[in-house]
């Protein structure tokens, strides 16, 4: 995996001044970033730093109290997942956001179902066969070997589920893909598949936003790294020439498990 020079094109996604307060906890206090096409931007930070909240606001899964997200220069409707999806964004959430009772195929095409051609399709009839076949092709293309795509996702092991969520996101994204700790539950082989997938996605000119605690891998794959602390982006580092302990030092302000950043 080569460390690319940061692309010079204009940013695909910009997030500006996102704020979010839960009761007394200021989870985000004015976080901003931008990603360019074909760039892997990693977000690192201690537990509770606000990483998941940040990307949830970007994806429209959480409505920020303040701030703006733009894709290709157009502002997204805050808190609207549809708006982000329509703009070409797809995500893997930390808790995966799958429907456990539905099968692998059904989850991959959830909300982007294929309709039968012709009248039946216009009546809303699904094309199950096409979806099944495309899912197989997708899995095959990624090198993932799940034997039965019709098993409900709840019967898969944690790692298998995470792979399904990654496959869904990369197959959907046309501009930005957001990955919140996509390898947390994965073994060596599956982690490799996911990292290869990220690389392939970047090659397709898609912007990648990656959250991970696995710093060695982050340093290996990311073009840029932003460090979050206490709900805001503390600093940005260039992975070239940076070591894991450098990053750890940046991540650790004081008492970082302390999330009592009380409102005013």
């Amino acid at each position: 995996m080569s460390i690319n020079a940061a692309p010079t094109s204009s940013p695909v996604l910009t997030a500006t001044g996102l704020r979010k307060t839960y009761g007394h906890v200021k989870a985000l206090r004015g976080a901003s970033l931008e990603v360019r096409a074909g760039e892997v931007l990693a977000i690192v930070g201690d537990n509770g730093a606000g990483k998941s909240t940040f990307i949830s606001c970007i994806c429209g899964a959480v409505t920020p109290d303040e701030g703006e997200v733009r894709i290709d220069g157009t502002a997204l409707e805050p808190g609207s997942i549809a708006s982000a999806m329509d703009a070409g964004l797809a995500a893997v959430y930390q808790d995966l956001a799958v429907a456990p009772h539905l099968s692998v195929v059904e989850n991959i095409f959830l909300s982007t179902e294929l309709k039968k051609p012709g009248l039946l399709g216009r009546l809303g009839m699904l094309d199950r066969r096409a979806m099944r076949q495309k899912s197989e092709e997708l899995m095959h293309g990624l090198g993932i070997d799940l034997p039965n795509l019709d098993r409900p996702v709840e019967q898969l092991s944690g790692g298998q589920r995470q792979v399904v969520a990654v496959a869904r996101a990369v197959s959907r994204a046309s501009r930005v893909v957001v990955l919140d700790e996509p390898t947390a539950a994965l073994g060596a082989k599956q982690s490799k598949i996911v990292l290869d997938t990220i690389e392939a996605t970047r090659q397709r000119g898609i912007a990648v936003l990656l959250i991970s605690h696995d710093l060695p891998r982050v340093l290996e794959i990311a073009d840029r790294i932003v460090v979050m602390r206490l709900g805001a982006v503390a600093t940005e580092v260039d992975p070239r020439g940076t070591t894991v302990s450098d990053v750890v030092a940046l991540m650790l302000g004081e008492t970082s498990l302390n999330d009592e950043r009380r409102a005013s």
């Binding site: 956001a97 059904e106 699904l126 197989e136 409900p152």
Partner: protein, 350 residues
């Protein structure tokens, strides 16, 4: 879609999702249970009269309303919600429907004198009025659940009181009398090829419902929302729309059932249907729909609605006192769900 390498089709298993599969198999199990009950009552009852055409027709007629409610509830439960207002909605819809029929067929003064006009039009208007009322109540439920984000148990418990009260206000507390007899002769008491028309309607509507659940995006989204609302939302499902949709469907079914009710009785039954909601809920659960969402079987619910009707008819025929009927129906409910659970392996060792 990213589709690399058109890999050879390596389907090792038929393209039927596990959810559908369980749904179907529970349906067959329920069919077997109903058939067993029918055989048992035929043997135990006098002269095999249980399987006489008139008795089976009566059972069919009596199951039609429950079946419609069950179809609606299967959607609602599948989406992880509950609708306690179905029976009250049925009553309200039947009342509005009856008033409309009277108005269209020439007003209640003429009706009291036995004069009726516009038979066919009155029927159509009555059906439409029932459907609109039912859907409005359903929509009200759906909007409260999605916009105000109140738990559906609370919302529909409230709507249950509201609909009951409205039905009483509309009628002044007395059943609507003097409905045109054509309602009963053309629909409620009619049979086509031996099949009672109300049952026919319920089955047809139910089959459409089953198709919607199994074969359309809406149906799939319904189960996704029931399986994990937050997951479905973040996967792009419009959860609010889907949720409102299932409540409207439930209301629609109550509306049709309300109309069928007046075609059966030739009047309204504003004091009746107090047990219908729980009976329909039981049927839906026996039929293989999960109370917690994510898994629903319309066909199972439809077949299971025969269970209370068959039990009641059978016990009366066999001569089991009516007090024991409550006990027996309770035991059958528990046993059926228990056996189904074992069968599906859900109650198997942890």
């Amino acid at each position: 879609m990213t589709t690399t390498a058109p890999a050879k089709n390596q389907t090792r298993h038929p393209a039927v999702s596990a959810a559908t599969f369980t749904g179907i198999s529970t349906t067959w199990y329920v069919v077997a249970a109903v058939v067993t009950l029918i055989i048992a009552f035929t043997i135990a009852g006098p002269e095999a009269r249980f399987v006489s055409l008139t008795n089976l027709q009566a059972i069919g007629r009596n199951s039609a309303g429950l079946m419609l409610l069950g179809v609606g509830l299967a959607f609602v439960l599948g989406a992880g919600h509950i609708d306690l207002s179905v029976a009250a909605n049925l009553v309200l819809s039947s009342v509005v429907s009856a008033k409309t029929v009277l108005a269209v067929s020439g007003g209640s003064a003429a009706a009291a004198a036995g004069e009726y006009a516009n038979g066919g039009l009155a029927i159509a208007a009555g059906l439409a009025a029932g459907i609109v009322t039912g859907c409005l109540v359903g929509m009200f439920n759906g909007l409260l659940v999605t916009r105000l984000r109140i738990n559906s148990f609370v919302v529909t418990l409230g709507t249950m009181g509201i609909a009951t009260g409205l039905a009483q206000v509309v009628t002044g507390g007395a059943n609507v009398p003097y409905l045109p007899p054509v309602l009963q002769s053309a629909i409620g008491m009619r049979a086509v090829l031996g099949v009672p028309v109300p049952l026919l309607i319920a089955v047809l509507v139910g089959l459409v419902g089953a198709a919607v659940l199994a074969w359309t995006a809406f149906g799939r989204h319904t189960l996704a929302v029931g399986s994990s609302a937050s997951g479905a939302r973040r996967a792009g499902v419009r959860v609010e729309l889907t949720t409102t949709g299932v409540f409207v469907i439930s209301g629609l079914m109550a509306g049709i059932a309300g109309f069928l009710d007046i075609t059966r009785f030739g009047t309204t039954a504003i004091a009746g249907h107090e047990t219908s909601m729980l009976a329909a809920l039981s049927a839906v659960i026996i039929g293989g729909t999960s109370l917690f969402g994510g898994r629903a079987s319309i066909s199972g619910a439809m077949v299971a609605t025969f269970i209370p009707t068959v039990l009641l008819a059978g016990f009366v025929m066999v001569g089991v006192g009516s007090f024991y009927q409550n006990i027996a129906i309770g035991l059958v409910l528990i046993t059926a769900v228990w056996i189904d659970g074992i069968r599906r392996g859900q109650l198997a060792p942890r």
